[in-house]
Amino acid sequence: MTPNFSRRVLLKGLGIAALGLGLLQPLIAPASAQETLVINTDRSGAGQKAAMNKIAADFEAANPGVKVTVNYSDVESYKTSIRNFLVASPPDVAFWFTGARMRAFTKRDLFEDISGFYAKNGLDPSMAPFLPAVTDGGKQYMMPTNFNTWGFFYNKDVFAKLGVEPPKTWNELMAIAEKAKAAGIVPFTIGTRDLWANALWFDYLTKRINGLDFYMGLMDGKESYTDPRMTKVFDTWRVPIEKGYFLDNASSYGWQEAIPFLSQGKAAMYLLGPYVLTSLPEDARKNIGFFPFPTVDPSVPNFEQVSINGVGIPKGAKNKELALKFLAFLAQKENLLAFAKGGSVVPARVDIEIDPNDFASVQMQQVRNSSGSSQFYDRDTDPDMAQTGMKGFQEFLAKPDRQEAILQRLDAARKRVFN
């Protein structure tokens, strides 16, 4: 009798459960009738977060019945998670880097083609200079949001104490470093634990010694890392390393952890982007000055490093129409300006008036003065190559005498990646 009884109870239980699920169904449905826009972003600094929250709220107000969910994530962990969520749980809108980093995903068909978006919203002329960065095979996959330049951030007090002015040439830069070192101040602070900050030195020296064409050839795997021109780059780079101008034990610090040395006056300079400013509190920011990477070889034009960030729609997005609407909303001058301003970067529209007192205008000037630019090592070359390369640069900074072995390893990786 007992087994029979329990079976009946079980059946009853199952029936109730099924009924319950059935009842719940209509309850879930109306909730999704109200449209939800999911945005994943790594622009999570306080300023950009506040700007984004406001833009999202304004978008909700302008589109009744739409709910915007913004998932913020820090930059470094976003780099690993995006690969996962683009495939497994794509949001409607995803912020990302342009260039090779974008193409790594478009190649795998993970971003929606939004080529028609620009003409439809009249953004063609104002975004034209940035479109090559978001183009793959003649189609556009992202909307550029902002760009930033890179260069030396220096401690004004330290420079005043040393009695030096921002340098114009590599030799002047080395002279300042020597003075700082003699005064017991670390000339260049740097944090290489997350690898990329160090690639700036490589990028600038390669471009300023061998020109942009060689650099792009190297990024595309057409030029060799064992080329004599590369040796010249590393020989130049090695001088400040061997003289001990860089922060000791750089690999113990993340790029952000190296900033306090600069703001506290323990270090004189940091080759980085506007993130130095956004990482510091308002009053510390006033003491930080900026100068572009100095001329290394007068016969080579001053090529710059200009990184463009953007936003795209994943292939698997559920609300593509709404997502396009959001992109158009974000592209409006005041929104794009507010968003860029939050991160001390420059909005990616040429028709936006920039506040001359803002750091954005300095960056704008830097771009105008340059003879051409590339984005960044890990946005211009294959991700596999970039990972191996940046590890090599990290090793070079710690053990410059291994130059030969490092370059050979990089070239082996280049041959494997671009075969």
Partner: protein, 294 residues
């Protein structure tokens, strides 16, 4: 229906009871293992097209300097990690005293067990910081030049293992404390009457009774050392330049950052083989000793 059940109950019950765990084990553990081994014969970026390349991934492993660095670090991990059961036992013997105050002391030793590995990693990273860390401050106090443990290719692995040992020792401590509470008081009393004390008592009366616990503690410690990943990811990201990378981290690095799922799977397969061989030898050895002892 009922009669069918009564007649076949004997052989059906185990099948029904085993169905769920077996299904889970097969689908969540065995199948992914087979799949990983399969993927290791392909060149695959994780999402795009796959290309069969046979043993090329393994051939590349043998010429990859990083692979041997990882294996070397794995060996350091295993050897050093085996200190955890030893320290755990020592601490357990010390803490296993019927004093009220001991509770406070015990809970202090348990702390690392309740902390997430990520937190332990962050705390130790600060501890080792060559400028602001406690270690550096102490070294400067004795007018020594602070060592940047996490930036030195020779020290870095040891630095991370010590952080991991802190937590693993607490884990072994708990196991041994539980084991000590199960000791047969009569045996110990008998030993004492026969004049055993101190080392002799520990060696011949207490330790044999802890054999099962030691076995579990050792196995779990070894497996923990082989699959360690979180602390490395938090403290150094495998650096500087790959010198603290172990196989598990290299697999992650290859798969996620270099978009090489096939190569990552090959590393995973090697790690799986090492683990299987090690555990097989260990099990065989222990079982044999057990049957001899019985």
């Amino acid at each position: 229906m009922l009669r069918f059940w009564r007649q076949n109950q004997a052989w059906m019950t185990p099948i029904i009871l085993l169905f769920l765990p077996l299904a889970l084990f097969l689908s969540m553990i065995v199948w992914p293992i087979i799949q990983s081994i399969g993927i290791s014969f392909y060149d695959w970026d994780g999402t795009g097209p796959v290309r069969f390349i046979g043993l090329d991934n393994y051939r590349e492993l043998l010429s990859d300097g990083q692979f041997f660095v990882s294996v070397k670090n794995n060996v350091i991990w295993i050897v050093m990690f085996l200190l955890a059961p030893v320290f755990g036992l020592g601490l357990a013997l010390f803490l296993n005293q019927p004093l009220g105050e001991m509770r406070v002391v015990k809970s202090v030793f348990f702390i690392p067990l309740v902390l997430a590995p990520v937190i332990i990693g962050v705390v130790f990273t600060w501890f080792y910081d060559p400028t602001f860390g406690i270690l550096a401050i102490v070294m400067r106090f004795f007018s020594l030049e602070p060592v940047a443990i996490l930036s030195d290719e020779h020290f870095v692995t040891f630095g991370i293992v010590i952080a991991a040992l802190w937590a693993q020792t607490a884990f072994c401590l708990v196991l041994f404390l539980a084991g000590l509470s199960q000791l047969d008081g009569e045996l110990i009393a008998a030993g004492r009457i026969d004049g055993a004390s101190g080392w002799t008592l520990l060696r011949h009366i207490v330790l044999p009774q802890l054999r099962a616990v030691s076995f579990v503690a050792t196995i779990i410690t070894v497996i923990g050392s082989l699959r360690n990943f979180d602390l490395i990811a938090v403290m150094t990201q495998g650096g500087p330049y790959g010198s603290s990378t172990v196989l598990a981290y290299q697999m992650y690095d290859a798969t996620i950052f270099s978009y090489r799922a096939g190569y990552g799977a090959a590393i995973a397969t090697v790690l799986f083989l090492i683990m299987s061989i090690y555990i097989a030898i260990f099990l065989r050895h222990t079982l044999r000793r057990e049957s001899r002892g019985a």
